[in-house]
Protein backbone atom coordinates (compact mmCIF):
# COMPACT_ATOMS: atom_id res chain seq x y z
CA UNK A 1 0.00 0.00 0.00
CA UNK A 2 1.18 3.51 -0.74
CA UNK A 3 1.71 5.85 2.24
CA UNK A 4 -1.45 7.81 1.39
CA UNK A 5 -3.62 4.68 1.17
CA UNK A 6 -2.09 3.43 4.42
CA UNK A 7 -2.89 6.79 6.02
CA UNK A 8 -6.50 6.61 4.84
CA UNK A 9 -6.77 3.04 6.14
CA UNK A 10 -5.30 4.26 9.45
CA UNK A 11 -7.93 7.01 9.71
CA UNK A 12 -10.61 4.39 8.95
CA UNK A 13 -9.23 2.10 11.67
CA UNK A 14 -9.11 5.01 14.10
CA UNK A 15 -12.77 5.83 13.46
CA UNK A 16 -13.63 2.14 13.92
CA UNK A 17 -11.85 2.08 17.29
CA UNK A 18 -13.71 5.26 18.26
CA UNK A 19 -17.00 3.60 17.36
CA UNK A 20 -16.04 0.55 19.41
CA UNK A 21 -15.60 2.80 22.47
CA UNK A 22 -11.83 2.59 22.75
CA UNK A 23 -10.61 5.65 24.70
CA UNK A 24 -9.70 8.30 22.13
CA UNK A 25 -6.16 8.82 23.44
CA UNK A 26 -5.30 5.12 23.38
CA UNK A 27 -6.90 4.60 19.95
CA UNK A 28 -4.77 7.37 18.46
CA UNK A 29 -1.61 6.02 20.10
CA UNK A 30 -2.35 2.46 18.96
CA UNK A 31 -3.14 3.35 15.34
CA UNK A 32 -0.27 5.84 15.26
CA UNK A 33 2.31 3.25 16.36
CA UNK A 34 0.90 0.51 14.13
CA UNK A 35 0.74 2.80 11.10
CA UNK A 36 4.22 4.19 11.67
CA UNK A 37 5.57 0.65 12.08
CA UNK A 38 3.90 -0.41 8.84
CA UNK A 39 5.26 2.52 6.85
CA UNK A 40 8.77 2.52 8.31
CA UNK A 41 9.88 -0.24 10.67
CA UNK A 42 8.63 -1.61 14.03
CA UNK A 43 11.89 -0.63 15.79
CA UNK A 44 11.69 3.14 15.19
CA UNK A 45 7.93 3.09 15.78
CA UNK A 46 8.31 1.54 19.24
CA UNK A 47 11.17 3.90 20.11
CA UNK A 48 9.01 6.82 19.05
CA UNK A 49 6.17 5.58 21.29
CA UNK A 50 8.28 5.81 24.45
CA UNK A 51 9.98 9.01 23.37
CA UNK A 52 6.71 10.75 22.52
CA UNK A 53 5.14 9.79 25.84
CA UNK A 54 8.12 10.98 27.85
CA UNK A 55 8.54 14.19 25.86
CA UNK A 56 4.86 15.15 26.08
CA UNK A 57 4.53 14.34 29.78
CA UNK A 58 7.68 16.33 30.52
CA UNK A 59 6.85 19.17 28.14
CA UNK A 60 7.03 22.55 29.86
CA UNK A 61 4.63 24.24 27.38
CA UNK A 62 2.02 21.60 28.29
CA UNK A 63 2.25 22.42 32.00
CA UNK A 64 -0.10 25.32 31.30
CA UNK A 65 -2.98 22.83 30.93
CA UNK A 66 -2.96 21.30 34.45
CA UNK A 67 -2.45 24.75 35.97
CA UNK A 68 -5.51 26.35 34.34
CA UNK A 69 -7.60 23.22 34.98
CA UNK A 70 -6.56 23.34 38.63
CA UNK A 71 -7.50 27.02 38.77
CA UNK A 72 -11.02 26.12 37.62
CA UNK A 73 -11.51 23.29 40.10
CA UNK A 74 -10.16 25.36 43.01
CA UNK A 75 -12.38 28.28 41.97
CA UNK A 76 -15.39 25.97 42.13
CA UNK A 77 -14.38 24.53 45.49
CA UNK A 78 -13.86 28.05 46.83
CA UNK A 79 -17.52 28.93 46.25
CA UNK A 80 -16.76 31.66 43.69
CA UNK A 81 -19.45 30.29 41.38
CA UNK A 82 -22.16 30.59 44.06
CA UNK A 83 -21.32 34.24 44.74
CA UNK A 84 -21.21 35.01 40.99
CA UNK A 85 -24.71 33.60 40.63
CA UNK A 86 -26.03 35.49 43.66
CA UNK A 87 -24.66 38.74 42.26
CA UNK A 88 -26.06 38.32 38.76
CA UNK A 89 -29.40 37.19 40.18
CA UNK A 90 -29.65 40.28 42.35
CA UNK A 91 -29.08 42.43 39.26
CA UNK A 92 -31.39 40.77 36.72
CA UNK A 93 -33.56 38.37 38.76
CA UNK A 94 -36.58 40.68 38.75
CA UNK A 95 -36.82 40.55 34.94
CA UNK A 96 -38.84 37.94 33.06
CA UNK A 97 -36.47 35.00 32.62
CA UNK A 98 -34.19 36.78 35.07
CA UNK A 99 -32.90 33.60 36.66
CA UNK A 100 -31.84 32.22 33.29
CA UNK A 101 -30.21 35.51 32.35
CA UNK A 102 -28.44 35.49 35.71
CA UNK A 103 -27.24 31.97 34.88
CA UNK A 104 -25.86 33.09 31.51
CA UNK A 105 -24.04 36.03 33.07
CA UNK A 106 -22.72 33.94 35.96
CA UNK A 107 -21.51 31.32 33.47
CA UNK A 108 -19.71 34.07 31.54
CA UNK A 109 -18.12 35.20 34.81
CA UNK A 110 -17.14 31.70 35.84
CA UNK A 111 -15.82 31.01 32.32
CA UNK A 112 -13.37 33.84 32.95
CA UNK A 113 -11.69 31.76 35.64
CA UNK A 114 -12.45 28.24 34.42
CA UNK A 115 -11.56 26.82 31.02
CA UNK A 116 -13.86 23.85 30.91
CA UNK A 117 -17.34 23.73 29.45
CA UNK A 118 -18.55 20.72 31.44
CA UNK A 119 -17.19 22.20 34.68
CA UNK A 120 -18.96 25.51 33.99
CA UNK A 121 -22.26 23.75 33.19
CA UNK A 122 -21.99 21.43 36.20
CA UNK A 123 -21.05 24.25 38.57
CA UNK A 124 -23.85 26.57 37.52
CA UNK A 125 -26.33 23.74 37.04
CA UNK A 126 -25.98 22.70 40.68
CA UNK A 127 -26.68 26.27 41.81
CA UNK A 128 -29.17 27.58 39.24
CA UNK A 129 -31.41 24.59 38.49
CA UNK A 130 -32.83 24.20 42.03
CA UNK A 131 -33.53 27.96 42.08
CA UNK A 132 -35.29 27.83 38.71
CA UNK A 133 -37.33 24.84 39.83
CA UNK A 134 -38.35 26.73 42.97
CA UNK A 135 -39.50 29.68 40.85
CA UNK A 136 -41.49 27.46 38.44
CA UNK A 137 -39.29 28.01 35.42
CA UNK A 138 -39.96 25.96 32.33
CA UNK A 139 -37.80 22.82 32.44
CA UNK A 140 -36.65 23.10 28.82
CA UNK A 141 -35.65 26.76 29.24
CA UNK A 142 -33.89 26.11 32.56
CA UNK A 143 -31.85 23.09 31.51
CA UNK A 144 -31.22 24.35 27.97
CA UNK A 145 -29.85 27.62 29.31
CA UNK A 146 -27.44 26.00 31.74
CA UNK A 147 -26.18 23.46 29.18
CA UNK A 148 -25.71 26.14 26.51
CA UNK A 149 -24.25 28.80 28.79
CA UNK A 150 -21.72 26.23 30.01
CA UNK A 151 -20.18 26.38 26.53
CA UNK A 152 -18.95 29.87 27.37
CA UNK A 153 -16.30 28.08 29.44
CA UNK A 154 -14.29 27.18 26.35
CA UNK A 155 -14.49 30.46 24.48
CA UNK A 156 -13.98 33.05 27.23
CA UNK A 157 -10.36 32.88 28.41
CA UNK A 158 -8.83 30.86 29.94
CA UNK A 159 -9.96 28.09 27.62
CA UNK A 160 -8.52 24.58 27.80
CA UNK A 161 -9.36 23.90 24.16
CA UNK A 162 -7.75 27.13 22.97
CA UNK A 163 -4.62 26.18 24.95
CA UNK A 164 -4.54 22.76 23.27
CA UNK A 165 -5.14 24.37 19.86
CA UNK A 166 -2.31 26.81 20.54
CA UNK A 167 0.05 24.00 21.49
CA UNK A 168 -0.84 21.87 18.48
CA UNK A 169 -0.50 24.74 16.01
CA UNK A 170 2.32 26.59 17.80
CA UNK A 171 0.21 29.76 17.98
CA UNK A 172 0.44 32.23 20.87
CA UNK A 173 -1.82 31.14 23.72
CA UNK A 174 -2.02 34.78 24.86
CA UNK A 175 -3.34 35.88 21.45
CA UNK A 176 -5.78 32.99 21.34
CA UNK A 177 -7.07 33.92 24.78
CA UNK A 178 -7.61 37.54 23.84
CA UNK A 179 -9.21 36.47 20.55
CA UNK A 180 -11.87 34.63 22.53
CA UNK A 181 -12.89 37.69 24.57
CA UNK A 182 -15.16 39.51 22.08
CA UNK A 183 -16.81 36.36 20.66
CA UNK A 184 -17.34 35.16 24.24
CA UNK A 185 -18.97 38.43 25.30
CA UNK A 186 -21.07 38.51 22.13
CA UNK A 187 -22.18 34.94 22.72
CA UNK A 188 -23.17 35.80 26.29
CA UNK A 189 -25.25 38.69 24.91
CA UNK A 190 -26.79 36.45 22.25
CA UNK A 191 -27.71 33.86 24.88
CA UNK A 192 -29.26 36.55 27.11
CA UNK A 193 -31.14 37.94 24.09
CA UNK A 194 -32.39 34.43 23.31
CA UNK A 195 -33.82 34.19 26.84
CA UNK A 196 -35.48 37.63 26.45
CA UNK A 197 -37.04 36.65 23.10
CA UNK A 198 -38.29 33.32 24.41
CA UNK A 199 -39.83 34.95 27.48
CA UNK A 200 -41.39 37.72 25.40
CA UNK A 201 -43.07 35.09 23.25
CA UNK A 202 -44.19 33.03 26.22
CA UNK A 203 -44.02 34.94 29.54
CA UNK A 204 -44.90 31.79 31.49
CA UNK A 205 -41.49 30.26 30.71
CA UNK A 206 -39.60 32.37 33.25
CA UNK A 207 -41.60 34.25 35.88
CA UNK A 208 -39.86 37.33 37.29
CA UNK A 209 -38.34 37.18 40.76
CA UNK A 210 -38.70 39.64 43.65
CA UNK A 211 -37.39 43.15 42.87
CA UNK A 212 -34.18 44.34 44.52
CA UNK A 213 -33.09 47.89 45.32
CA UNK A 214 -29.79 49.54 44.39
CA UNK A 215 -28.33 48.99 47.84
CA UNK A 216 -28.88 45.24 47.55
CA UNK A 217 -27.47 45.27 44.05
CA UNK A 218 -24.32 47.09 45.08
CA UNK A 219 -23.85 44.91 48.16
CA UNK A 220 -24.22 41.78 46.03
CA UNK A 221 -21.60 43.09 43.62
CA UNK A 222 -18.94 42.72 46.27
CA UNK A 223 -19.39 38.97 45.78
CA UNK A 224 -17.72 39.07 42.38
CA UNK A 225 -14.80 41.31 43.26
CA UNK A 226 -12.55 38.33 43.99
CA UNK A 227 -13.45 36.66 40.67
CA UNK A 228 -12.71 39.90 38.80
CA UNK A 229 -9.41 40.31 40.64
CA UNK A 230 -8.43 36.72 39.93
CA UNK A 231 -9.23 37.17 36.23
CA UNK A 232 -7.36 40.47 36.05
CA UNK A 233 -4.35 39.03 37.85
CA UNK A 234 -4.03 35.89 35.71
CA UNK A 235 -5.21 36.91 32.25
CA UNK A 236 -4.14 40.54 32.70
CA UNK A 237 -0.75 39.42 33.97
CA UNK A 238 -0.41 37.15 30.96
CA UNK A 239 -1.16 39.96 28.49
CA UNK A 240 1.08 42.43 30.27
CA UNK A 241 3.95 39.98 30.07
CA UNK A 242 4.24 39.53 33.83
CA UNK A 243 3.65 35.79 33.61
CA UNK A 244 4.15 32.98 31.15
CA UNK A 245 0.93 30.98 30.51
CA UNK A 246 1.99 28.29 33.03
CA UNK A 247 2.80 30.91 35.64
CA UNK A 248 -0.54 32.66 35.04
CA UNK A 249 -2.37 29.37 35.57
CA UNK A 250 -0.41 28.52 38.71
CA UNK A 251 -0.95 31.99 40.18
CA UNK A 252 -4.65 31.66 39.31
CA UNK A 253 -4.86 28.27 41.03
CA UNK A 254 -3.00 29.59 44.06
CA UNK A 255 -5.23 32.69 44.10
CA UNK A 256 -8.42 30.60 43.94
CA UNK A 257 -7.06 28.52 46.80
CA UNK A 258 -6.36 31.62 48.90
CA UNK A 259 -9.87 32.97 48.18
CA UNK A 260 -11.33 29.68 49.40
CA UNK A 261 -9.23 29.81 52.54
CA UNK A 262 -10.02 33.48 53.15
CA UNK A 263 -13.74 32.86 52.74
CA UNK A 264 -13.53 29.72 54.93
CA UNK A 265 -15.11 27.73 52.12
CA UNK A 266 -12.35 25.21 51.63
CA UNK A 267 -12.18 22.16 53.89
CA UNK A 268 -9.40 19.60 53.50
CA UNK A 269 -11.88 17.25 51.88
CA UNK A 270 -12.97 19.86 49.32
CA UNK A 271 -9.35 20.75 48.66
CA UNK A 272 -8.34 17.16 47.92
CA UNK A 273 -11.48 16.47 45.89
CA UNK A 274 -10.87 19.57 43.77
CA UNK A 275 -7.20 18.64 43.35
CA UNK A 276 -8.01 15.09 42.30
CA UNK A 277 -10.70 16.29 39.92
CA UNK A 278 -8.22 18.66 38.30
CA UNK A 279 -5.63 15.91 38.16
CA UNK A 280 -7.95 13.44 36.40
CA UNK A 281 -9.04 16.03 33.83
CA UNK A 282 -5.42 17.06 33.22
CA UNK A 283 -4.47 13.41 32.82
CA UNK A 284 -7.20 12.90 30.24
CA UNK A 285 -6.18 15.99 28.24
CA UNK A 286 -2.45 15.19 28.29
CA UNK A 287 -3.07 11.61 27.24
CA UNK A 288 -5.19 12.85 24.32
CA UNK A 289 -2.45 15.24 23.25
CA UNK A 290 0.17 12.50 23.53
CA UNK A 291 -2.03 10.16 21.49
CA UNK A 292 -2.47 12.92 18.91
CA UNK A 293 1.27 13.51 18.70
CA UNK A 294 1.89 9.80 18.06
CA UNK A 295 -0.93 9.71 15.52
CA UNK A 296 0.43 12.93 14.00
CA UNK A 297 3.78 11.25 13.31
CA UNK A 298 1.96 8.53 11.43
CA UNK A 299 -0.05 11.15 9.50
CA UNK A 300 3.15 13.03 8.64
CA UNK A 301 4.89 9.92 7.31
CA UNK A 302 1.75 9.04 5.32
CA UNK A 303 1.95 12.55 3.73
CA UNK A 304 -1.84 12.86 3.92
CA UNK A 305 -1.99 16.42 5.36
CA UNK A 306 0.30 17.73 2.62
CA UNK A 307 -1.45 15.84 -0.19
CA UNK A 308 -4.80 17.05 1.15
CA UNK A 309 -3.54 20.64 1.38
CA UNK A 310 -2.27 20.49 -2.22
CA UNK A 311 -5.47 18.91 -3.46
CA UNK A 312 -7.72 21.41 -1.75
CA UNK A 313 -5.50 24.26 -2.91
CA UNK A 314 -6.15 23.22 -6.51
CA UNK A 315 -9.89 22.86 -6.12
CA UNK A 316 -11.94 25.27 -8.24
CA UNK A 317 -13.54 26.63 -5.11
CA UNK A 318 -13.09 29.95 -3.25
CA UNK A 319 -11.17 29.64 0.05
CA UNK A 320 -14.28 30.57 2.03
CA UNK A 321 -16.11 27.68 0.33
CA UNK A 322 -13.39 25.30 1.50
CA UNK A 323 -13.60 26.82 4.96
CA UNK A 324 -17.34 26.24 4.89
CA UNK A 325 -16.73 22.55 4.14
CA UNK A 326 -14.19 22.28 6.97
CA UNK A 327 -16.60 23.95 9.40
CA UNK A 328 -19.36 21.61 8.27
CA UNK A 329 -17.06 18.63 8.97
CA UNK A 330 -16.42 19.99 12.48
CA UNK A 331 -20.14 20.57 12.95
CA UNK A 332 -21.02 17.00 11.98
CA UNK A 333 -18.00 15.59 13.86
CA UNK A 334 -19.17 17.40 16.98
CA UNK A 335 -22.34 15.32 16.99
CA UNK A 336 -20.33 12.17 17.56
CA UNK A 337 -17.08 13.17 19.26
CA UNK A 338 -15.97 15.07 22.32
CA UNK A 339 -14.89 18.57 21.28
CA UNK A 340 -11.35 18.21 22.65
CA UNK A 341 -10.83 14.87 20.89
CA UNK A 342 -12.32 16.20 17.66
CA UNK A 343 -9.96 19.16 17.59
CA UNK A 344 -6.90 17.12 18.53
CA UNK A 345 -7.59 14.52 15.84
CA UNK A 346 -8.45 16.93 13.04
CA UNK A 347 -6.13 19.89 13.56
CA UNK A 348 -3.00 18.08 12.26
CA UNK A 349 -4.96 17.28 9.09
CA UNK A 350 -6.84 20.54 8.50
CA UNK A 351 -4.41 23.12 9.83
CA UNK A 352 -1.95 22.87 6.87
CA UNK A 353 -4.94 23.30 4.53
CA UNK A 354 -6.12 26.38 6.41
CA UNK A 355 -2.63 27.87 6.30
CA UNK A 356 -2.29 27.13 2.59
CA UNK A 357 -5.58 28.95 1.94
CA UNK A 358 -4.23 31.99 3.78
CA UNK A 359 -6.63 32.14 6.73
CA UNK A 360 -5.63 33.69 10.04
CA UNK A 361 -4.71 30.83 12.41
CA UNK A 362 -6.01 32.72 15.46
CA UNK A 363 -9.36 33.35 13.76
CA UNK A 364 -9.54 29.69 12.71
CA UNK A 365 -8.88 28.62 16.31
CA UNK A 366 -11.84 30.67 17.55
CA UNK A 367 -14.09 29.39 14.74
CA UNK A 368 -13.14 25.79 15.46
CA UNK A 369 -13.81 26.22 19.18
CA UNK A 370 -17.20 27.80 18.46
CA UNK A 371 -18.21 24.97 16.16
CA UNK A 372 -16.88 22.39 18.60
CA UNK A 373 -19.06 24.09 21.25
CA UNK A 374 -22.08 23.12 19.20
CA UNK A 375 -21.08 19.48 19.59
CA UNK A 376 -21.09 19.89 23.35
CA UNK A 377 -24.83 20.58 23.34
CA UNK A 378 -26.11 18.52 20.41
CA UNK A 379 -27.17 14.85 20.42
CA UNK A 380 -26.06 12.10 20.65
CA UNK A 381 -22.89 12.97 22.62
CA UNK A 382 -23.63 16.44 23.96
CA UNK A 383 -21.46 16.31 27.08
CA UNK A 384 -23.14 19.29 28.73
CA UNK A 385 -26.55 17.74 28.24
CA UNK A 386 -25.48 14.64 30.13
CA UNK A 387 -23.92 16.79 32.83
CA UNK A 388 -27.27 18.57 33.27
CA UNK A 389 -29.13 15.28 33.14
CA UNK A 390 -26.91 14.09 36.00
CA UNK A 391 -27.85 17.15 38.06
CA UNK A 392 -31.56 17.03 37.17
CA UNK A 393 -32.28 13.31 36.64
CA UNK A 394 -36.07 13.87 36.71
CA UNK A 395 -36.00 15.93 33.49
CA UNK A 396 -36.07 13.77 30.33
CA UNK A 397 -33.20 14.14 27.85
CA UNK A 398 -35.48 15.23 25.01
CA UNK A 399 -36.71 18.17 27.09
CA UNK A 400 -33.11 19.30 27.67
CA UNK A 401 -32.29 18.97 23.97
CA UNK A 402 -35.49 20.89 23.10
CA UNK A 403 -34.39 23.68 25.43
CA UNK A 404 -31.01 23.87 23.74
CA UNK A 405 -32.12 24.48 20.15
CA UNK A 406 -32.73 28.25 20.46
CA UNK A 407 -29.25 28.64 21.94
CA UNK A 408 -27.76 26.53 19.16
CA UNK A 409 -29.28 29.10 16.79
CA UNK A 410 -27.40 31.85 18.67
CA UNK A 411 -24.14 29.92 18.31
CA UNK A 412 -24.68 29.43 14.57
CA UNK A 413 -25.46 33.14 14.10
CA UNK A 414 -22.24 34.10 15.89
CA UNK A 415 -20.21 31.65 13.78
CA UNK A 416 -21.63 33.14 10.57
CA UNK A 417 -20.93 36.66 11.89
CA UNK A 418 -17.34 35.65 12.60
CA UNK A 419 -16.94 34.36 9.08
CA UNK A 420 -18.31 37.59 7.64
CA UNK A 421 -16.47 39.84 10.12
CA UNK A 422 -13.24 38.05 11.13
CA UNK A 423 -12.20 41.22 12.96
CA UNK A 424 -14.44 40.18 15.87
CA UNK A 425 -11.77 37.59 16.68
CA UNK A 426 -8.65 39.18 15.18
CA UNK A 427 -8.97 42.81 16.31
CA UNK A 428 -7.95 42.37 19.96
CA UNK A 429 -5.04 39.95 19.22
CA UNK A 430 -3.65 42.54 16.80
CA UNK A 431 -3.25 44.90 19.77
CA UNK A 432 -1.20 42.53 21.94
CA UNK A 433 2.32 41.42 21.23
CA UNK A 434 2.48 38.35 23.49
Amino acid sequence: MSPVVTGIAGIGLLLLFFLLRMPVAFAMAFVGVAGFAYLSDPGPALSLLAQDIFEQFSSYPLTVIPMFILMGTFAFASGISRRLFDTTYTWVGQLRGGLTMATVLACAGFAAICGSTAATAATMGKIALPEMKKHNYDNALATGTVAAAGTLGIIIPPSTILIVYGILTEESIGKLFVAGVLPGLLLSLFYAATVVLLCLRNPGLGPPGAPTNWREKLRATTGIIEAVLLFLLTIGGLFLGWFSPTQAGAIGAGGALLIGLGRRQLSWQKFFEAGKDGLRTSCMVLFIITGAVIFGHFMAISTIPFVLADWIGQLPMPPMGVMGVIIFIYFIGGFFMDSMALIVVTIPIFFPVVMKLGFDPIWFGVIVVLVAEMGVITPPVGVNVFVIKGIAPDIPLHIIFRGIFPFLGALIILTVLLMIFPGIATFLPSLVSY
Binding site: A29, R280, D338
Partner: protein
Protein backbone atom coordinates in the same frame (compact mmCIF):
# COMPACT_ATOMS: atom_id res chain seq x y z
CA UNK B 1 -14.68 -13.35 47.15
CA UNK B 2 -13.51 -14.49 43.69
CA UNK B 3 -9.94 -14.10 42.47
CA UNK B 4 -11.11 -11.46 40.02
CA UNK B 5 -12.74 -9.42 42.77
CA UNK B 6 -9.61 -9.71 44.90
CA UNK B 7 -7.47 -8.50 42.00
CA UNK B 8 -9.89 -5.66 41.34
CA UNK B 9 -9.80 -4.57 44.97
CA UNK B 10 -6.03 -4.70 45.05
CA UNK B 11 -5.77 -2.69 41.86
CA UNK B 12 -8.25 -0.07 43.05
CA UNK B 13 -6.21 0.42 46.21
CA UNK B 14 -2.98 0.59 44.21
CA UNK B 15 -4.51 3.09 41.78
CA UNK B 16 -5.76 5.20 44.69
CA UNK B 17 -2.28 5.33 46.17
CA UNK B 18 -0.80 6.18 42.81
CA UNK B 19 -3.34 8.96 42.43
CA UNK B 20 -2.16 10.49 45.71
CA UNK B 21 1.38 10.48 44.30
CA UNK B 22 0.00 12.15 41.15
CA UNK B 23 -1.79 14.76 43.25
CA UNK B 24 1.45 15.49 45.09
CA UNK B 25 3.11 16.03 41.69
CA UNK B 26 0.34 18.38 40.57
CA UNK B 27 0.44 20.43 43.75
CA UNK B 28 4.22 20.54 43.50
CA UNK B 29 3.85 22.08 40.02
CA UNK B 30 1.58 24.80 41.38
CA UNK B 31 3.58 25.52 44.52
CA UNK B 32 6.99 25.64 42.81
CA UNK B 33 5.65 27.89 40.04
CA UNK B 34 3.98 30.26 42.53
CA UNK B 35 7.11 30.46 44.71
CA UNK B 36 9.23 30.98 41.59
CA UNK B 37 7.01 33.83 40.32
CA UNK B 38 6.74 35.55 43.68
CA UNK B 39 10.45 35.05 44.37
CA UNK B 40 11.49 36.33 40.94
CA UNK B 41 9.10 39.29 40.73
CA UNK B 42 9.16 40.55 44.30
CA UNK B 43 12.57 39.52 45.63
CA UNK B 44 14.50 38.90 42.41
CA UNK B 45 15.25 35.39 43.69
CA UNK B 46 13.73 32.75 41.39
CA UNK B 47 13.63 29.08 42.36
CA UNK B 48 16.71 27.38 40.92
CA UNK B 49 15.65 24.89 38.22
CA UNK B 50 11.95 25.72 38.64
CA UNK B 51 11.15 24.77 35.05
CA UNK B 52 12.91 21.40 35.44
CA UNK B 53 11.05 20.65 38.67
CA UNK B 54 7.69 21.65 37.18
CA UNK B 55 8.07 19.57 34.04
CA UNK B 56 9.25 16.50 35.94
CA UNK B 57 6.45 16.94 38.48
CA UNK B 58 4.07 16.86 35.53
CA UNK B 59 5.51 13.49 34.50
CA UNK B 60 4.70 12.16 37.98
CA UNK B 61 1.29 13.84 38.12
CA UNK B 62 -0.02 12.63 34.79
CA UNK B 63 1.42 9.13 34.72
CA UNK B 64 0.37 8.25 38.27
CA UNK B 65 -3.20 9.47 37.68
CA UNK B 66 -3.72 7.38 34.54
CA UNK B 67 -5.09 4.25 36.22
CA UNK B 68 -7.51 6.13 38.45
CA UNK B 69 -8.76 8.20 35.53
CA UNK B 70 -9.30 4.98 33.56
CA UNK B 71 -11.17 3.27 36.41
CA UNK B 72 -13.40 6.34 36.85
CA UNK B 73 -14.09 6.54 33.10
CA UNK B 74 -12.42 9.93 32.70
CA UNK B 75 -10.62 9.05 29.47
CA UNK B 76 -12.82 10.33 26.64
CA UNK B 77 -14.46 7.71 24.46
CA UNK B 78 -17.28 7.73 21.91
CA UNK B 79 -20.28 6.11 23.57
CA UNK B 80 -23.24 6.51 21.27
CA UNK B 81 -22.71 3.50 18.98
CA UNK B 82 -21.83 0.65 21.32
CA UNK B 83 -24.68 1.40 23.74
CA UNK B 84 -27.15 0.62 20.94
CA UNK B 85 -25.79 -2.92 20.50
CA UNK B 86 -27.00 -6.05 22.34
CA UNK B 87 -25.20 -6.82 25.60
CA UNK B 88 -23.42 -9.88 24.26
CA UNK B 89 -22.04 -8.02 21.25
CA UNK B 90 -20.97 -5.21 23.58
CA UNK B 91 -19.09 -7.71 25.73
CA UNK B 92 -17.39 -9.16 22.64
CA UNK B 93 -16.33 -5.68 21.55
CA UNK B 94 -15.07 -4.98 25.07
CA UNK B 95 -12.90 -8.11 24.89
CA UNK B 96 -11.19 -6.79 21.75
CA UNK B 97 -10.84 -3.21 22.97
CA UNK B 98 -9.46 -4.15 26.37
CA UNK B 99 -7.06 -6.63 24.82
CA UNK B 100 -5.77 -3.91 22.49
CA UNK B 101 -5.48 -1.51 25.44
CA UNK B 102 -3.57 -4.13 27.40
CA UNK B 103 -1.24 -4.77 24.46
CA UNK B 104 -0.63 -1.04 24.05
CA UNK B 105 0.29 -0.52 27.70
CA UNK B 106 2.51 -3.61 27.82
CA UNK B 107 4.36 -2.11 24.85
CA UNK B 108 4.51 1.25 26.65
CA UNK B 109 5.98 -0.32 29.81
CA UNK B 110 8.54 -2.29 27.84
CA UNK B 111 9.61 0.62 25.65
CA UNK B 112 9.75 3.07 28.54
CA UNK B 113 12.05 0.69 30.42
CA UNK B 114 14.27 0.56 27.32
CA UNK B 115 14.06 4.35 26.94
CA UNK B 116 14.81 4.85 30.63
CA UNK B 117 17.86 2.61 30.33
CA UNK B 118 19.06 4.67 27.35
CA UNK B 119 18.63 7.87 29.36
CA UNK B 120 20.42 6.24 32.30
CA UNK B 121 23.40 4.98 30.30
CA UNK B 122 23.57 8.27 28.38
CA UNK B 123 23.60 10.20 31.68
CA UNK B 124 20.73 12.42 30.46
CA UNK B 125 19.81 15.24 32.85
CA UNK B 126 17.60 18.33 32.87
CA UNK B 127 19.17 21.49 31.48
CA UNK B 128 19.37 23.64 34.62
CA UNK B 129 19.04 21.64 37.82
CA UNK B 130 20.83 18.60 36.33
CA UNK B 131 18.18 16.19 37.60
CA UNK B 132 18.63 12.70 36.08
CA UNK B 133 15.81 11.91 33.64
CA UNK B 134 15.89 8.12 33.70
CA UNK B 135 14.00 7.66 37.03
CA UNK B 136 11.11 9.58 35.55
CA UNK B 137 10.95 7.38 32.44
CA UNK B 138 10.95 4.35 34.74
CA UNK B 139 8.27 5.99 36.87
CA UNK B 140 5.91 6.26 33.87
CA UNK B 141 6.53 2.55 33.25
CA UNK B 142 5.74 1.71 36.89
CA UNK B 143 2.67 3.96 36.87
CA UNK B 144 1.41 2.10 33.79
CA UNK B 145 1.29 -1.24 35.63
CA UNK B 146 -2.11 -0.61 37.26
CA UNK B 147 -3.37 0.62 33.88
CA UNK B 148 -2.46 -2.80 32.47
CA UNK B 149 -4.22 -4.44 35.40
CA UNK B 150 -7.36 -2.38 34.72
CA UNK B 151 -7.37 -3.53 31.10
CA UNK B 152 -6.65 -7.13 32.14
CA UNK B 153 -9.49 -7.09 34.65
CA UNK B 154 -11.91 -5.57 32.16
CA UNK B 155 -10.79 -8.11 29.56
CA UNK B 156 -11.43 -11.01 31.93
CA UNK B 157 -14.73 -9.51 33.09
CA UNK B 158 -15.85 -9.16 29.47
CA UNK B 159 -15.04 -12.84 28.84
CA UNK B 160 -17.08 -13.76 31.91
CA UNK B 161 -19.97 -11.64 30.59
CA UNK B 162 -19.86 -13.45 27.23
CA UNK B 163 -19.61 -16.91 28.75
CA UNK B 164 -22.18 -16.32 31.51
CA UNK B 165 -24.99 -15.06 29.19
Amino acid sequence: MSALEKLERFNRRLSDWFEWIGLAGLLMMMIVTCIDVIGAKLFLVPVFGAIDIVMLSQVVAISFAAASALILGRHVSVEFFVVMLPRRVRALIDIIIHLLGLALFILIIWRLCVYGYLLQTGGEETATARIPLSPFAYSIAIASIPVCLVFLLEFLNSIVRVVKR
